[in-house]
């Protein structure tokens, strides 16, 4: 290579150079060459290269576990690569810690939320950079003002003084975005920032991104949502199995091209919805109310029916699902299962009644992070299957989990891998597997394909359809409009804790749903 | 009258006897109530208990000090408050210069170790090998008794006795049982066990018996003359113990503090001597403690 051999410059020197403004001009803002990273049993990145231009949005695409997050974590100073070189503005650099990366102008929004739940929004955003007064004390008033300014600029409506634990997942995601922007970095990495957002916030985020791009900032954008790619990115790179496949301009390709690059084959049908015979009402909810959260929610779901639930963030969809499943028992109203009144006062009761519920928040209410895949998958099924005299029938349950993992295309070195070490999408698959194993009669899914790649998404849709075909009633909450429209027999729309209407498959369109959702 | 009794520790067999003797004696007196506190071996806690007694306005305080050296501070505190104070059993470091309305009733720790060791020495005929089992390190009893033991073993008559090992078993039976078993497994050979108290001596006996040692061949000595110890002596396992008159000290302390409270004159220092117990005079003690 014609590049002069350079020894790595220490991050602190680099930071000083950056502050001085004497930043060398290079073709690429950030480049990574020949990166290799191995975890025990997994080669996450193998000779991968990546180049980011200034003032552009560069999307990263790839199946779950392709290595996208791992590469970004290397660029953000969280992992050190086993091999390879990172150059920032043409200067080779070795990042030793997240602080190095931040000081060099690289900020990152992580795939999993990384906030301090018991601290306020303002404290979360300005941590380590709190404004101080002459005596060295944190100036809370100033910090509040700075946060308010930032939020005004980004058009975010969240109280800076509220503790983060009180926020919904979507709001937390917005806080993360604001925090990353507040670093005023040159490189901004966004790892699936929209997986918890609805269209309104996404649109919102995109305007922020465009604004940043126009200021010469380079943005790396990871997503599994194809439409976002075309809407926001200038160019994109595709990874597969820890290898670099190629980089193209977004305008040069079609959706199918990308899928083929990612998956190595074509995906015929994204929403393999089939018409099935609709049976009796199995879940009937009447005037369900949770004080201060939602009220008078009434609907029926029948065997074989897939009922989609749409709404904006904070419309209370997740809360309704939680209440039906007994996580937060209702303050009034009734739930009938299979024609019988049931007082669902805890999830245990719901499960006894053959319900299953995939929660929205993977990290908080889903994963048993430090346990292995097997234990994560089997935990719900052990209530009535695979147990004899208290003893777990290990080989039978292992076999079942293994089959399920295969079916869902979980990418892992083995069932005894900690779920913590899986990529986000693969974690989601394991959790879906947990519930499918229980052979439910009522299946409640809250954002089921959050963070899942296109290939697996189609597979999950196919499985859900199969379940419906077998007579399972499905309640599917989703913020992805194509998914709701593509999969549902009927759509229930919510707005601010109230049901605003139902739409049949035949009459449902994006416009009609949005109308009801924002009424 | 209300008398505050600050004990150093409840979890100790001899101290329990002392405490009961005070409580029982007070019960027999008219209009005297005692209010007992457990210092749990913590000198600071004990100080606070004295402060609490003062705040509660008791008529007199009896204290079994956690440590002799803390006596001066407590003595000063009580003198300032003008409340009579009697030190029982454990003499404060300022025992020779006690202020008005204060007195000491008790015995001298070192004497126990001296009596015990002298007798063991005699039984061994002045030569052989011995192990010493100490109480919890740093406590008054451990220091006083161990020092006395070493002093006796340094005398001409007992110089022939070699100390082959010396460890602590925290005053308790099971740790002593484990300690002696460990010694035996390490092949330590000894003719005598000199323990700082009876519980540890009994633990040693259990260990010796469990490994098939004949108790006739080993001289075992303790201090306290607890019921269990006397039973063991009766059975021929324990050879020496030292009786410390809990009743004498307890009754003496209560009487003294009451006299002080009533403004009567008392003896500044009353020493109640330790008494040696062996198989020969065992009978007269079995009823006592």
């Amino acid at each position: 290579m014609g590049r002069p051999v350079m020894t790595s410059i220490s991050p602190s020197t680099m930071a000083a150079v950056r502050r001085s403004g004497a930043v060398p001009n290079a073709e690429f803002l950030l480049a990574a060459e020949g990166i290799r990273k191995e975890f025990p049993g997994v080669l996450a990145l193998d000779d991968v290269s990546f180049r980011l231009k200034r003032g552009s949005v560069h999307a990263l695409m790839g199946e779950n576990g392709a290595g996208k997050s791992t590469l970004m974590k290397i660029l953000a100073g969280i992992y050190t690569p086993d091999q390879g070189e990172v150059t920032l503005r043409g200067v080779p650099i070795r990042l030793q810690s997240p602080l190095d990366a931040l000081e060099n102008g690289i900020a990152m929004i992580h795939q999993e939320l990384n906030l301090m739940p018991y601290m306020t929004v303002a404290e979360n955003i300005w941590i380590r950079r709190e404004p101080r007064n002459r005596l060295g004390f944190v100036n809370h008033g100033e910090m509040h003002r700075m946060t308010a300014d930032l939020f005004k600029r980004l058009r975010i409506d969240i109280d800076p003084e509220i503790e983060v634990r009180h926020l919904s997942v979507a709001s937390r995601q917005m806080v993360e975005i604001a925090k990353a922007v507040s670093y005023e970095s040159d490189v901004l990495i966004m790892d699936e920032p929209t997986s918890a957002l609805t269209e309104t916030e996404v649109g919102h985020l995109f305007s922020i991104i465009r604004d940043l791009r126009s200021h010469g900032i380079g943005i790396v954008y990871i997503t599994h949502k194809m439409n976002e790619l075309f809407e926001i990115s200038d160019e994109f790179s595709v990874f597969r199995d820890g290898r670099y496949i190629g980089t193209h301009a977004a305008s040069d390709v079609t959706r199918d091209d990308i899928i083929k690059m990612m998956v190595g084959r074509e995906i015929t049908q994204m929403f393999p919805k089939e018409d099935v015979a609709i049976g009796d009402v199995v879940l009937s909810v009447k005037n369900l109310t949770l004080k201060g959260v939602f009220e008078n929610v009434s609907f029926d779901v029948r065997a074989g029916e897939i009922m989609g639930v749409a709404g904006l963030v904070g419309s209370g969809r997740s809360n309704v699902a939680e209440t039906i499943f007994g996580v937060t028992p209702a303050s009034s109203g009734t739930i009938d299962l299979y024609g019988k009144r049931v007082d669902i006062k805890s999830p245990a009761v719901a499960i006894q009644n053959h319900m299953a519920f995939l929660t929205e928040d993977r990290k908080d209410t889903g994963c048993l992070l430090i346990l292995d895949i097997l234990q994560n998958m089997q935990v719900a099924v052990l209530h009535d299957r695979f147990v004899k005299g208290g003893f777990v029938q290990e080989s039978a349950v292992e076999k079942a989990c293994e089959d399920m993992a295969k079916r869902l295309r979980v990418k892992t070195p083995g069932l005894f891998e900690r779920i913590e070490n899986l990529s986000g999408g693969n974690q989601q698959k394991v959790l879906i597997g947990r519930w499918l194993l229980t052979n439910p009669r009522i299946l409640i899914l809250d954002e089921p394909t959050r963070g899942i790649d296109v290939g697996a998404k189609a597979e999950i849709h196919r499985i859900v359809t199969e379940f419906a075909k077998a007579g399972v009633a499905v309640l599917m909450i989703s913020s992805e409009m194509p998914e709701v429209l593509g999969m549902s027999d009927r759509i229930m729309v919510m707005h601010e804790g109230k049901v605003t209407g139902f739409l049949d498959r035949s009459e449902a369109t994006q416009v009609k749903v949005m109308e009801l959702a924002s009424r | 009258e209300t008398i505050g009794v600050a004990m150093s520790l409840f979890d100790d067999n001899w101290l329990t006897g002392l405490r009961h003797s005070m409580e029982d004696h007070a019960k027999g007196l008219k209009d005297v109530t005692v209010n007992t506190e457990d210092g749990q071996g913590d000198i600071a806690k004990q100080q606070s208990q004295v402060d609490n007694f003062i705040a509660a306005g008791v008529d007199g305080i009896v204290i079994m000090l956690v440590d002799a050296d803390a006596g001066a501070a407590i003595s000063k505190r009580a003198a300032e408050a003008g409340i009579p104070l009697v030190f029982v059993n454990n003499a404060p470091s300022n025992v020779d210069s006690l202020p008005d309305k204060q007195a000491f009733v008790g015995s001298n720790e070192e004497q126990a170790g001296t009596l015990e060791t002298e007798t063991v020495c005699k039984m061994l005929g002045g030569k052989g090998k011995a192990v010493i089992i100490q109480g919890q390190l740093g406590t008054t009893g451990q220091r006083g008794r161990t020092k006395a033991t070493h002093d006796v073993l340094a005398t001409d008559a007992c110089k022939g006795i070699e100390v082959v090992d010396e460890q602590s078993a925290n005053w308790m039976r099971t740790p002593s049982l484990d300690l002696v078993t460990n010694w035996l497994s390490a092949g330590r050979d000894f003719d005598a066990v000199i323990a700082n108290n009876d519980e540890m001596a009994l633990g040693a006996i259990q260990a010796l018996k469990a490994s098939g040692k004949s108790m006739d061949k080993v001289v075992v000595g303790g201090v306290d003359a607890t019921a269990d110890a006397l039973a063991a002596m009766q059975a021929g396992d324990l050879d020496v113990t030292v009786f410390q008159n809990a009743k004498g000290q307890g009754v003496g302390a209560i009487d003294t503090v009451l006299k002080l409270a009533r403004g009567e004159k008392v003896e500044k220092k009353t020493y109640i001597p330790f008494e040696l117990v062996t198989k020969d005079n065992l009978a007269q003690y079995t009823a006592k403690n």
Binding site: L371, H383, F391 | N182
Partner: protein, 341 residues
């Protein structure tokens, strides 16, 4: 994915079953072996004896910690749920006192029931276990239903149970126990009780639903709840078991000492927790195994036997003991980290 890439990379698309990792206990076991070998070598150098080739010493090493071990088995389970049990040492004292009260022989002046004849040993044993169980139930109930932190609930029990054991006979020791009762404390019986208990709960934790749920609760209580686990009921079970084991430990302690005293078991909870943590149980919950705890317990036993063996001065023992505990865990952490890479 049927791509050729698969052949070359170490990754596999589909889970390869049966590829269990090396158990983490292996690492701490090697540490134990290391400590024993150091003693062995020092033994030859300084006292010209073998440390390990001595069956009596091998027994006492475990014997002296078997009571701690019995408690630690229960405490490990509690810690796996993300809780803590500070009460076990006091429960040992309390059950020892009460059980011994039923085990006194008629040739002795009884502390509590002066006119009772000798009872068969099963009665004090059952009493002791039940009292421990009751203490555990109270702990569990408080934690599950009033939602106070386990630290506080069991601290309260720790203080109260100690109070009860002092109050029970007003501080008098309870001695003169029947031979039948003392039997379970004689010889290597405590070791056998410990190992049987450890085996039972090793199996329970690894192979039963009880075990799987215990780990799940510790790993993420909210997720466990949503997965249909009745957390409250399960926690009560776990604490009750820990209490019952502490009760059993109290019986063994009294039988070994052939007496019961109110001060028995002081600070045992700390040793038990330490053994569990040394053995790899995480106080954050979700992680831990009985095998690790057993090794942790044995490390404590080996350490103290080693001190006596090498004639370490009593004044230095504690200083060194602290350092060894830290060093053992540092070595363990270091080994596990290296293994990973």
């Amino acid at each position: 994915m049927e791509s050729k890439a698969l052949a070359e990379t170490a990754t596999q698309d589909h889970p390869a079953p049966r590829k269990r990792r090396l158990p983490t206990e292996l690492s701490i076991f090697l540490v134990l072996v290391g400590i024993a070998l150091v003693y062995e070598i020092l033994g030859w150098i300084f006292v010209h004896q073998s440390f390990l080739m001595n069956s009596q010493r091998l027994t006492i090493m475990v014997l002296q910690v078997s009571v701690i071990g019995i408690i630690a088995v229960g405490v490990t389970q509690v810690i796996i749920t993300g809780g803590i049990d500070l009460s076990s040492g006091s429960v040992v004292g309390m059950t020892a006192m009460i059980a011994a009260g039923f085990a006194q022989s008629s040739t002795w002046t009884r502390a509590i029931y002066p006119n009772m004849t000798d009872l068969p040993a099963i009665i004090p044993i059952a009493t002791g276990i039940l009292i421990g169980l009751a203490a555990g139930l109270v702990n569990g109930w408080l934690i599950a239903y009033t939602k106070i932190p386990p630290f506080i609930a069991t601290l309260g029990m720790m203080v109260s149970a100690r109070g009860i054991s002092k109050w029970y006979t007003k501080g008098q020791p309870v001695s003169g126990l029947t031979d039948q009762f003392n039997f379970i404390g004689s010889g290597a019986w405590p070791v056998i009780v410990f190992l049987v208990v450890a085996l039972i709960f090793h199996i329970a934790l690894r192979y039963t639903r009880y075990g799987k749920f215990t780990y799940a609760i510790g790993a993420n209580p909210q997720a466990a709840r949503v997965s249909g686990i009745n957390i409250e009921a399960h926690l009560i079970k776990v604490y009750a078991i820990a209490g019952a084991l502490a009760g059993l430990a109290g019986i063994v302690t009294a039988a070994r000492a052939q007496t019961a005293q109110s001060g028995m078991g002081v600070m045992y909870e700390l040793d038990a927790i330490a053994a569990a943590v040394i053995g790899g149980t995480s106080l954050a919950g979700g992680v831990g195994r009985i095998t690790g705890t057993v090794i942790g317990v044995i490390i404590l036993g080996v350490m103290s036997s080693g001190f006596t063996f090498l004639r370490v001065d009593a004044y230095y023992q504690e200083i060194i003991k602290g350092a060894i505990i830290v060093a053992a865990v540092v070595a363990d952490v270091y080994r596990q980290k290296r293994k990973k890479v």
